[in-house]
Structures are given as C-alpha cells and as structure tokens.
C-alpha cells in the first residue's frame, strides 16, 4: 500500500501546474449556462489549448492520437485541472470520454482517421443517442429502428436526455437493426451527423431551469453504412467495451471539487455564525470524512486499474452509489448554512443543488447500481 507518486508522476504534475498557472488567467469569461453556442465555443477553445500543449486525449492510446498516459497520470491531470479551476470537459464529454474511445477500440482505420483527430483538436462535438423515452435504465429495450436501403441505414425513432444535442456535430446512436433477435443482440452502433435531413432537436427544460438536455426525433434519417462502428447487430458489445471504461476516473474532478466546496461552506458558516451550531458543524465534519474516503476510493480504483486488471468495473458502481448520495447531502448541508440564500436562484449553490438531483438517476439509477452490486459483485441470484 503506497500513496506516494513516482518522480515521473511528480514531474508530470509540476509541469501541468506550471502550464495551468500560465494559461488560465488569459481564458475568456465563462458563458452563461443557457448560452449553448457560447458554451460550445468556450469548451472547444479549451480543448484546443489542451491539444496545443500536448494534453489532449491524455488517457487515449497513442495509436489513436492520445498520449497513452497511465491511469495515475490521468488522475493527476483531473486533480490538478480541477484544483486550478480550469474549465470542465463540457461539450467535449461524449467525444473524449465515450464516442472517441469506442471508435478507437472498435473502429476501422478510416473511421479512426475521420473522427478522432477533430475530437482531440476541439473541432467537433459529439452527443450520445442511447436513452429513449421507453428505454432509460433498461437501455437494451430501445426501439429506434434502422433498416438497410442500399448503402444507407434508414433510421426512425426518438432519443431523450441527449446533452449538447443542439450544438453537436455527431451523435453516437444505438439503433435496433434486428427486431426479431433477443433484445441485447439486435442493436447496432452508428455515427449519425446531426445535420442530416430528418433530425429534429427539441430542448428539454429541466427542473434546474435552462435546457440541460434535448429530445432528438429521427424521421427516416439516412446514415451511410460506412458510419457503422463494429458489426451489424453487435452494437451492445461495442457499447459495453467502453461504457465502464471511465468508471475509475469519471468522478475524479468532481470529488476534488466537492472537497473545495466543503471548505468554502465551512468558511461561510464561520462568517455567518452557523459554525457555532455543533450539529451543523459535526455534519460538515462527517462530510469531510465522506469526501476524503471517496478520494481514497478513487485512488484505490485507479491503482487497481493500473495493476492491469483490465476494465475497473467493480469499483465503479460502489463509488457512484456512495458519491451521488454524498454530493446531494453536501448541497442539503449547504442550504442549512446559507439560510435565505438557499432559495435565491442567483446564488451559485442553488443551480448546482438542483442539478445534483440527477446524480442518483443518470448513468443508471441508484437502484440499478444496487442490483449490479448485488448480482455481479456479491453473486446473489438474479431477481426481478
């Protein structure tokens, strides 16, 4: 058991820190939350800066244009960028963390050459066309149909909860190509251009206010067969290859952010007198334990991935269950510290508190995660 970093890792951290200190002060101001074109430009601009500095696709394989960094280096990158207040991956999320790695792992040389460089250079935005109104946590029951017509697939159906759909260039789309096959077997993975005729995007207003997601309606959209990644009807496997890919590090920045927020909250409580309330003070102390432990769990999972045990699937569900609830508890405690400001939509905490309500739902609800833990980790019999 060792929590120290190698000289190479420390050197990597030092150089990254130095670079961040140099470039961050020159960044343009952050766009408003509902300014989607502005957010796209801002996020892609940041990605371009990472690319030029040699930090783009840090954890991607070298033959896909990435840096082939170790999980620990990726952990350091996420830790330091968050600590320095650097922009989030934002609109680049799906391209960099999911569609890109999927194409890198399963695409043809031509597909890799077409799609990977623009993701790394911050030129194209991807969105994720997985969930449907009738297929949320039960993703494999998706119904969007695609049938062959010459060199094209013709796609009809609809997708929902599609982040960044309004400003995306491409959609990683799961479609049903064989309705007669068992539900996991008849699915195909397509790269769909968002400007294709028949694609309609409708922003979806959420309880957090500004449109966070969109619905995407597909009316006989033609997608070239050449845009299929993997074999026809093999899309479920193609997706699963990369779906747990990021589990070890997906929340690194967020845990670092929570530890910073908790410190801010304690200082706010000191200023407004709530710190003298032992119940609230100890509640913040417990949250400190929580996020320290979640940070250690992250280090444990990353270290386990580095030992070459392959995809870190086990730690992912355990971590997500605990983290999603802890973050919601953090905002509940914040509301008690802030008092009246907790109801002021102009307070930065409030929008984050509302957004955090999705954490126990998105990417598999807490209930689905518990089923995964019980059945796949603990080996309990399959239930219904």
């Amino acid at each position: 058991m060792d929590l120290s970093y190698t000289p190479e890792e420390e050197d990597f951290r030092a150089r990254l820190r130095e670079w961040l200190a140099k470039v961050l002060p020159g960044l343009p101001p952050k766009p408003a939350p509902d300014d989607w074109p502005g957010r796209r430009a801002y996020d892609l601009g940041w990605q371009r800066m990472l690319y030029d500095a040699g930090y783009a696709g840090l954890h991607w394989p070298v033959d896909a244009g990435g840096r082939g960094a170790s999980p620990t280096q990726h952990l350091i990158f996420l830790e330091e960028t968050e600590r320095a207040g650097a922009p989030y991956v934002g609109a680049g999320f799906v391209g960099l963390l999911h569609a890109g790695p999927t194409i890198a792992a399963e695409g043809t040389p031509g597909q890799r050459a077409r799609w990977l460089p623009p993701i790394l250079r911050g030129e194209e935005v991807w969105c994720q066309g997985f969930s449907e109104p009738e297929a949320g946590s039960d993703l494999a029951s998706l119904r969007t149909r695609a049938w062959r017509d010459g060199d094209d697939y013709v796609v009809s159906g609809s997708k929902i909860w599609t982040s960044h759909a309004e400003v995306a260039d491409w959609c990683e789309l799961l479609v049903r190509t064989d309705p007669g096959a068992p539900k996991h077997r008849g699915i195909t993975w397509l790269a769909m251009p968002m400007d294709a005729p028949g694609v309609t995007v409708r922003p979806l207003r959420t309880l957090a206010g500004p449109a966070e997601f969109a619905e995407v309606f597909l009316d006989e959209v033609r997608v070239p067969v050449a845009h299929r990644v993997g074999e026809e009807n093999d899309g479920w496997r193609v997706t699963m290859v990369t779906l747990s890919f990021e589990r070890g590090t997906a929340f690194v920045g967020e845990v670092v952010a929570c530890r910073r927020l908790l410190g801010e909250l304690a200082r706010a409580a000191r200023r407004n007198g709530h710190w003298d309330d032992p119940v609230l003070r100890r509640r913040l102390g417990r949250l400190n334990a929580e996020f320290r432990a979640l940070w250690r769990l992250t280090q444990w999972n990353v270290s386990e991935a580095e030992r070459g045990r392959g995809v870190p699937g086990v730690g992912g569900s355990v971590f997500k269950l605990r983290y999603s609830h802890a973050r919601q508890e953090l905002y509940d405690a914040a509301a008690d510290v802030l008092g009246a400001a907790a109801l002021d939509l102009d307070s930065p905490w409030v929008l984050d508190r509302l957004s955090s309500l999705s954490y126990t739902i998105a990417a598999g609800t807490s209930q689905i995660q518990r089923n995964i833990v019980a059945e796949r980790i603990l080996g309990l019999p399959k239930g219904r």
Binding site: T6, R281, R283, A293, R296, Q299, E304, Q369, A374, P381
Partner: protein, 319 residues
C-alpha cells in the same frame, strides 16, 4: 502510486486469517461465549509468537519491524472473527511493557470511563482506581466502568490535561493534544472494518441459501439492496482505513474511524435484518458482531470526537 496490497501484505493477511481460523474458529467462539470473562492465555501467547503484538516493534528490539498498514490488516482479521481480548492495548504496549510483545503479559488500558478485560489483565495502563464491574453488553468483552470519568481526555476540550487519567493513556506513536492515541483509534477502525466485511459475507451466504416463496431470499430486490449497501459502506471504509494506515494523519484516522464505525454498526444491523427471525436468536452469530461493534464504537476517538476533528480541519485551510 501503488495503493494496493503488496504480495507480502497479502501473505501476512492470509497467514493471520489461517492462524485465527485454526485457533479461533466457530467452536472456540461458542466456547468463549459459554465461559464469558476468561481469556485464553495459550491463544494470547500464540498470537505473541506469531508477531501480532510485536508487529510494529523494530527488529532490533525483537519485533517484526512492520508498519501501520500491516497492523491494520492483522486487526481487520481479528475483527472478522470476533477475537476477544484487549488486543489494541497490548499491541500498543509492546516494547514498553515487559512480556506484552510476546503475549506473556496481558495489557489493558483505561479508555474514558471504561476498561476492557480489567480482571484478566496483568498490567493496566491508566488510573483504574474506583473501577466497578458491570454486566457487559458484549458477552466477549468484560467491562469495568469508572464513575465520574465520562468526559476525561476528550481532545476538543482543549490540549489541557483534563482528568486524573491524563498522561497515563496508552502511549503509542503520535499522541495528539493529550487525547486518545490516534493509533488506537485506527486499530479500532480496522477491527470495525473486519466486522463490516464479515457481516456482509454472512448476509450474502444466508441470502443465497435461505428460501422463501420458492426462491432464495437474495433474489428479492429489497434483500439485494440491503446487501449492496453493506458492501458499499464496507468498501468505502476500507479505502479510508487503508489510506489512514499509510498516511498516519490524525484527520485521515478520524475519517477512517467514522466510516468504519458506520460500516460495522449499520452493516451488522442489516445482516440481522437479512437473517430475519433467526438473526434475533442467541444461536446466531450476528448479535455477537453487533454487540462488539457497539462496544468498539464507545472507545476513544468515537463519532463526536472524530466529527469535531474533521470539522476543525475544514477551517484549518487544509480541507
């Protein structure tokens, strides 16, 4: 960063597990419950020979020369099997009290208002004058109490000496602010972690085997979710306990203690729930785990102290 067990650490953990399986299995546990208050001296010496108490003592002083991570792994195993005795106090006394390292001498310590195993101990660290025996909740941990000492030595009351027991508390490494020894707090957390992991296994075993309504109860989502939450708490606590063993930072130790207490106490209650009516019987092993987890949670460095320490850390500019 290699935050995983080394091969040597795995071997050590497996060795302790095998020793305890051989010397303190289910039969010995039953026998110990049937004869409460008696410490198995032969087992204590065997633990000493195996290096359990001398684990962190330098080799030059006849110890094993290992560190806190190894001690934590050994205490986790002790927690798993409900090993009785003043393990933490004797371990901390190795190198200071003659015979402690080898298991020849049984050492206990005053901890706040309580003393574990006072009647069986050869040496008591701290002022146990006025101690009166009580009927202990935990059949495997005889207790004495010290009237009027309920608040002695709690760190948040300041660094000032705060009671007659002060200064004669267990003296391990890193005595902080005149309060409880952080190493004692960490080793208690390790025992709680062992309990949390063990009761999760017991619940899963039962949920696979026990059938109701024509299928194993583990196929019911309500039972699955109890078990999943037990694992999540145990694994979160594990990361915190192991990390605290590496850093030996009192704030990390406080976090580890909080999460390990929670994992042990809530895990054991959930385990009892999964066992249903059988879990409520004396024959079931579950109540022994719950009673021990409750007893350990009363040791120094408990919930309130740890929460206050962690809160203070937030405004110290290092949170």
């Amino acid at each position: 960063m290699r935050f995983q067990l080394t091969d040597d650490q795995r071997a050590l953990r497996d060795g302790v597990r095998q020793l305890l399986a051989r010397r303190f299995g289910p039969e010995e546990l039953r026998a110990a419950v049937a004869a409460p208050g008696a410490l198995d001296r032969a087992l204590w010496r065997e633990l000493g020979e195996a290096g359990f108490f001398a684990l962190r003592l330098p080799e030059a002083d006849g110890g094993v020369g290992l560190g806190l991570p190894e001690a934590v792994l050994a205490f986790e195993e002790a927690g798993r099997v409900l090993l009785p005795g003043p393990l933490v106090a004797t371990h901390l006394a190795a190198g200071t009290v003659a015979g402690a390292a080898t298991g020849e001498t049984v050492v206990t310590a005053v901890d706040g208002a309580l003393v574990e195993w006072l009647a069986e101990a050869d040496v008591v660290r701290g002022d146990a004058a006025g101690a009166v025996p009580m009927r202990s909740l935990d059949p495997l941990t005889p207790l004495h109490r010290l009237p009027g000492r309920e608040k002695a030595g709690r760190w948040w009351e300041g660094a000032r000496p705060s009671g007659p027991g002060e200064g004669v508390r267990p003296s391990g490494a890193g005595e902080a602010g005149g309060g409880t020894d952080p190493v004692a707090v960490l080793l208690t957390a390790a025992e709680q972690l062992g309990t949390a992991a063990r009761v999760c296994e017991l619940a899963v075993q039962h949920a696979r085997a026990r059938e109701q309504f024509g299928r194993p109860v583990g196929a019911f989502q309500a039972v699955q979710h109890l078990c999943a939450d037990m694992l999540v708490r145990a694994e979160t606590a594990r990361a915190a306990v192991y990390a605290a063993a590496v850093t030996a930072d009192p704030v990390d130790i406080a976090a580890a203690r909080l999460l390990a207490d929670e994992a042990a106490v809530r895990g054991t209650r959930d385990c009892l729930q999964v066992h249903g009516g059988m879990g409520f019987t004396w024959e079931s092993e579950v109540h022994l785990h719950l009673k021990r987890a409750w007893t350990r949670s009363h040791r120094g460095g408990g919930v309130t102290e740890s929460e206050e320490l962690l809160a203070a850390d937030l405004t110290a500019g290092t949170g």
